[in-house]
């Protein structure tokens, strides 16, 4: 049996009911394009919001926690030994905040195939001296190049250049800090460390992370600058930040490496669990809405096919009488459904893409997000694939039952009933 003839008959039936056919195809088109636009928009926003936090957060962070020594001297004493000892008023030990053996840890991490990159950090508590006022602040000593590469630091620097940090005694201020100090590019500010060291730093930039509180209390300088401020050697780091190839491995690796290096290790999932949940819920909602649209379009096709079959009972009877098998008739109506689906879905994908482009050009400016000027859209081909497959699937299912009904039409009943 030639498909050509079946398609020809399907085409003729559709042309005879061109209006309804078009309405059905437009229904599919509409739902697919909305599906694509919705998912693209939702995911664009998702990755934007996630990016605000997650991209800037290391997948694993190694640091020394200030806590009481778990091995108190009493346990070493043979007099008390393994008994249950109760000690009151235990204080945290005076062990330093810096990570021991930081050089070799970094070296080892850089050789690990699962690790994308390593960036050491040194956090210091300082006071900015503005006239008679002392503003409390954190200075983060970073490697500007690595920080930009791994955590997109560059994107948040709204004034000045990250490279200028490489000069000693320079600083990039948080926008909130800069505003409070009325500091401009090129100004020299005075900083006092917690240890009492005084140092002059030149302002070479300002950054805006989108999190106001963070910008009010944080500034960035090079590692060397901060080490010098604190009077510490070049291997003095308080944090080692790691970015992995696959961030889902973070919890596992954090545990493994934390034990090996004998330092605290936090993974991104534990620290930022709420963001994951948020994106997931938004994703589920957009898929649910998209699929609902498709199902509604599917019902449209179902209705139109059912109506067509009811109207064309005579034609179906005559086709059967002249030698079309039930299977052939089934194929005719399934082809109609799939043709409607194909045309509707492919146009829907195109229109969805255009809708995405349109949204992509709507201005969206907010102080919190300096790098964003228009609404974000995610053009992930995955959505187009899912949209296309679902479009065809729903239309096929919508055509399945009407086609089965058509194939079971008894020609004798129709011809005799006339």
């Amino acid at each position: 049996m030639s498909w050509k003839l079946i398609l020809e008959i399907a085409k003729a039936l559709m042309l005879a009911r061109i209006k309804q056919t078009l309405v059905a195809a437009v229904g599919v088109l509409f739902s697919i394009s909305m599906f694509i636009a919705l998912l693209g928009f939702m995911n664009g926003l998702n990755s934007l919001l996630d990016g605000m936090i997650l991209n800037r957060t290391p997948h694993i962070r190694f640091y020394n926690e200030i806590k009481p020594n778990p091995n108190q001297p009493i346990q070493l004493s043979s007099e008390f030994g393994p008994d249950l000892n109760s000690i009151r008023s235990v204080k945290p030990s005076t062990s330093r905040l810096a990570i021991h053996n930081s050089r070799s840890i970094i070296q080892q991490l850089e050789q690990d195939p699962r690790v994308l990159g390593v960036s050491p950090k040194l956090a210091a508590q300082v006071f900015f001296n503005v006239g008679t006022l002392d503003l409390n602040s954190n200075i983060n000593g970073i490697d500007g190049f690595k920080e930009s590469q791994l955590f997109g630091f560059e994107e948040y620097v709204i004034e000045g250049r990250v490279e200028d940090l490489d000069q000693l005694n320079t600083i990039i201020l948080g926008k909130g800090v800069a505003d409070r100090m009325m500091a401009k590019l090129g100004d020299v500010i005075q900083v006092t460390t917690a240890q009492g060291n005084r140092i002059q730093l030149k302002v070479v930039g300002a950054f805006q992370s989108g999190l106001g509180d963070f910008d009010k209390t944080n500034s960035y300088a090079s590692l060397a600058t901060v080490q010098k401020m604190l009077g510490q050697p070049a291997s003095y780091f308080t944090d080692i930040q790691v970015k992995l190839h696959d961030f889902n491995q973070a919890p596992l690796l954090a545990k493994e490496l934390g034990t090996i290096f004998e330092v605290e290790a936090d993974d991104i999932q534990t620290v930022n669990a709420q963001f994951e949940t948020g994106s997931e819920v938004r994703n589920i909602i957009s898929y649910a809405v998209g699929i609902t649209l498709l199902v509604v379009a599917g019902f449209g096709i179902y209705n139109i096919l059912n109506m067509m079959i009811y109207e064309k009972l005579d034609s179906i009877a005559i086709l059967k009488a002249i030698g079309f098998s039930p299977k052939d008739v089934n194929r005719i109506f399934t082809s109609i459904a799939i043709l409607i689906g194909l045309v509707g879905s492919s146009l829907g994908l195109v229109v969805g893409y255009l809708l995405g482009l349109l949204i992509d050009h709507i201005p969206f400016e907010t102080d919190a997000l300096p790098t964003i000027t228009t609404y974000p859209i995610d053009y992930n081909p995955k959505f187009y694939l899912i949209g296309g497959v679902f479009g065809l699937l729903t239309t096929y299912l919508a055509g399945f039952f009407p086609a089965r009904k058509a194939s079971s039409v008894d020609p004798v009943e129709i011809i005799r009933g006339k």
Binding site: E8, S315, I322, G323, S325, I415, K418
Partner: protein, 231 residues
Amino acid sequence: MTANPVLEAKSISKYFYNASTTQVLDQVSIQINRGEFVSIMGKSGCGKSTLLYILSTMDTDYEGQLWLDGALVTGKDPAYLSQLRNEKIGFVFQFHYLLNEFTVLENVMIPALKLARHSRVEIAERAMEKLQIFDMQDHAHKKPNQLSGGQKQRVSIARALINDPLLIMGDEPTGNLDHKNSALVFDKFKELTQELGQTLLIVTHDQEFAKATDRTIEMEDGKVVGKVSSR
């Protein structure tokens, strides 16, 4: 001529199950030979149409045996029966039954396209020839709803002929036509048997029509009551 009859029905019975069981056909046995022009005649409700639909293989719910061209048809699956109808049986119905979505020519071509024994171009040529027999070639590219009832019926006979069927069946093919058109259709049937040796089986309640055929099978209350040769 071969010994095989074109069509042979052996004690066919059929019941309608509608609240109570009614027997519509009672042990009907008939035989149609090659080249014969046979009519089945009887009053409304005598079961003649029911018999025709069983003989046409479209109705499979019956008792007894049906042989077509020396092969048993009873109990075969629907796909096989469809193929058989396409190849060996041509149909003419009371109410024309052309597909309005297609042109006259395409209507005639469809059974042949389905059979796919010839190329599309050949089929179109053959369809034109068949239309010429009925003087309908000038209407080939019209849609059926632009034709008169008699014209439609002539087209549907042309369609019945397209695959050179073993047998053409008609259910009151002239029942819906005026006298002039019905005479025209009858003459064409006659021509087909005489000139092309076409086997025809026509159900009618028109005495005049029946009388003019080679053989009339008369039915009453689901039984064959007599085989009258009109000539």
